[in-house]
């Protein structure tokens, strides 16, 4: 056997170390500048007068009411959108019917419509100047400038998240497993719970987390229909703006920091689940 000297392998499929370092550096600086720095600023501003002032700001009745409002809205909007999102994705991917493409476009509508327009549509539909709105207000069931309006605005804006996550996954998975279950005599609900749901659970989780993040953070549509009544129809994002406009910058940034922490918590939860179920995940999903 001839004597072969193995030299250090030279990577031929990658760039020179200098260029690599430069590219990574640019990426890191970009991330630091545009993601990390603004987030840190929020926390720094919140703690400008110390922990005590920040915690005191959170105990303001208006801040507490806004937090309660946002959590309530998310707790109602997310399950509703999850249920309808699953139903829509199930119908679109497991059945054939005419105008399916049109339905998918409709589901995407809230993504393409500006949130302000969404809010204004609600005002036009349910405001005092429409027949329906006039009747509802006369019967003491106001929609806009009250809780139902804020909920409707949030539902509209966050509608596509779950369905949009589910549809590609369910198309990819096809319907062979469901058909097999059907030939074995399983009922519709049985198929859904034992075949479909386990297959889509990761996509569903992503959809729900994204939906939740948006539901808590939505500003535009909610601002139009909220009426800005302090302690009554103010959500966290609208309250942040109000505090800021009232020179209560510690309160504004503390509330903003809480909102950011809720978002970070959502991401953390997602990463944790991914990490714990990495093998399962690899088998069913590629996020």
């Amino acid at each position: 056997m001839p004597d072969i000297t193995l030299s250090r392998p030279v990577p031929v499929t990658t760039e020179a170390p200098l260029i690599r370092g430069l590219l990574i550096g640019v990426a890191l600086i970009f991330v630091a500048l545009f993601l990390f720095a603004p987030l840190v600023t929020v926390f720094v501003e919140a703690l400008r007068q110390g922990w005590v002032a920040a915690l005191d700001a959170l105990r303001l009745p208006d801040a507490l009411a806004a937090i309660r409002m946002t959590l309530t809205i998310a707790a109602i909007a997310v399950p509703i959108n999850a249920a309808f999102g699953i139903a829509a994705a199930w119908a679109i991917t497991k059945f054939d019917f005419p105008s399916k493409a049109f339905l998918i476009t409709l589901i995407d509508l809230p993504f393409s419509v500006s949130p302000v327009v969404a809010g204004l549509m609600l005002v036009l539909l349910f405001g005092a100047n429409s027949t329906l709105g006039g009747w509802l207000i006369a019967n003491d069931m106001p929609i806009v400038f009250a809780f139902p309006g804020i909920l409707l605005a949030t539902l509209f804006v966050t509608f596509p998240f779950v369905a949009r996550e589910l549809i590609p996954v369910m198309i990819e998975q096809g319907r062979a497993e469901e058909e097999a279950a059907l030939t074995l005599g399983a009922s519709g609900w049985r198929i859904f719970f034992t075949v479909t749901l386990p297959n889509i659970r990761w996509a569903l989780l992503y959809g729900v987390l994204l939906c939740n993040a948006r539901a808590m953070g939505e500003f535009g549509a909610v601002a139009v229909v909220s009426g800005k009544i302090r302690g009554e129809t103010a959500t966290m994002p609208t309250m942040v703006e109000m505090f800021y406009n009232e020179y209560l910058s510690v309160a504004a940034f503390t509330l903003a920091a809480v909102l950011a922490m809720l978002a970070l918590l959502t991401l953390l939860l997602k990463s944790l689940l991914e990490w714990r179920h990495a093998d399962l995940l690899a088998a069913t999903r590629r996020h």
Binding site: P61, G127, F145, G231, E246
Partner: protein, 395 residues
């Protein structure tokens, strides 16, 4: 007997419904919320503490409420005993207001409730909503159930009256002084030392000067700004449309409300001069430091009358009507007028005000809306669809 608790920093809450939670502090029922915190010991004034003296201390100090209790106590008006909980069920007032009144109404609501309960009434829950005056009027027209509106100019209230019929057409004669319990005017706020040397309206059309003012379509203050500039041009023999047009060409951002413009100028650092409500300019100085900005008083400005009125069509009960009417009428009381003065508004009754609060206002020549023919004429002609502002801004 009233008790006060400190909920955070200088913020206090008060109520007659009080519950001690021992170690964990104290809880009170303030109508729609039940905050908790530490009990405030009310410092009673000395024997010589006359009503005027006590009240003046109240108005010049941050701890409004605790001192106010002291003041009412000095008058012997403190309402002793406890009202049954059922009796205070539910009178609510929603005050839909414009941008710069946030701080004033936050304190006025406490002052009113203290006075109102001292008369033997159950406390009223007062909710506030603030935004650009035009946008707020729009919200009321679209169904925001305001009990009272306290907006920047009568044209906005006229709009509500005209489009919904929830306010009678003659609303402005229902309260004294054209229903304007406080007035203000338009001044300039410039950066410290006035680096651009802005002294009067004609400096605003100079090349390269950035002027910050909100959008007259949505903001009441902006309409007063517009008319004040117009009045200056007329008096100086300039072409008003050309002059105001040149001024708006120097505006880089049109915010929807006065407070938005103020934050654009003061906190985002955009622009050389802010056309501001006088009260907003003083507030910015007080909040953000006297060394950051200067107030410049132009040679001519306009008497801005922000009116208040009851939205009759939204009243649901007699109790609410009584409370809401009292709420508006009490704005004219010497105490409330002094409070308005301490919030940098020009008020009518200075009898209880601190001399400093009165002396602060510079004398300047003020034109009135009547000189333009009243808002009924001005609103469509200048700010209506295709009106003078539209024509100027399109150029």
């Amino acid at each position: 007997m009233y008790r006060s608790i400190r909920i955070s920093g200088p913020r206090l809450a008060k109520s007659i419904f009080f519950r001690s939670l021992g170690e964990r502090g104290n809880k009170i029922d303030a109508g729609h919320t039940r905050p908790w915190g530490h009990l405030i010991t009310v410092a009673w004034p000395n024997a010589d503490g006359s009503y005027h003296h006590a009240l003046r201390t109240v108005l010049s100090a941050g701890h409004l409420h605790a001192r106010l209790l002291a003041a009412t106590g000095a008058l012997g008006l403190t309402f002793a005993g406890t009202v049954p909980v059922a009796a205070q069920e539910g009178v609510e007032i929603l005050n839909v207001s414009y941008d710069p009144t946030r701080e004033f109404y936050r304190e006025y609501n406490e002052l009113f409730n203290a006075w109102w309960t001292a008369q033997g009434n159950a406390p009223v829950t007062i909710q506030q909503s603030h935004g650009g005056a035009g946008a707020q009027a729009r919200a009321v027209i679209d169904g925001l159930e305001a009990t009272v509106v306290t907006l920047a100019l009568s044209a906005d209230i006229d709009q509500i009256a005209e489009r919904t019929g929830r306010i009678p057409a003659d609303w402005q004669s229902r309260l004294p002084q054209n229903s304007a319990p406080y007035t203000s005017t338009i001044v300039f706020l410039v950066r410290q030392g006035n680096p651009r040397g802005i002294e009067d309206w004609d400096d605003l059309v100079a090349e390269g000067v950035q002027v910050i003012t909100p959008n007259p379509k949505t903001s009441g203050g902006a309409r007063w700004n517009f008319l004040a500039a117009w009045a200056y041009a007329e008096r100086s023999g300039l072409d008003p449309a050309g002059f105001v047009g040149a001024m708006y060409r120097n505006v880089p951002v049109l915010d929807t409300g006065a407070r938005g413009s103020t934050t654009t100028f003061t906190q985002r650092g955009i622009g050389d001069v802010l056309l501001a409500w006088e009260n907003e300019a003083f507030l910015a100085l007080a909040e953000l430091g006297e060394d950051a900005f200067d107030i410049v008083v132009p040679s001519v400005s306009i008497l801005a009358e922000p009116p208040v009125t009851l939205v009759d069509g939204n009243i649901t009960s007699d109790a609410q009507r009584t409370a809401a009417e009292a709420y508006l009428q009490h704005l004219y009381s010497p105490e409330a007028q002094a409070l308005a003065l301490s919030h940098y508004y020009r008020a009518w009754d200075t009898s209880l005000a601190a001399p400093d609060d009165v002396a602060r206002f510079p004398d300047l020549e003020l034109v009135t809306i009547a000189d333009f023919g009243g808002w009924a004429v001005v609103q469509p002609e200048y700010f209506g669809e295709g009106g003078i502002f539209d024509q100027i801004y399109e150029e």
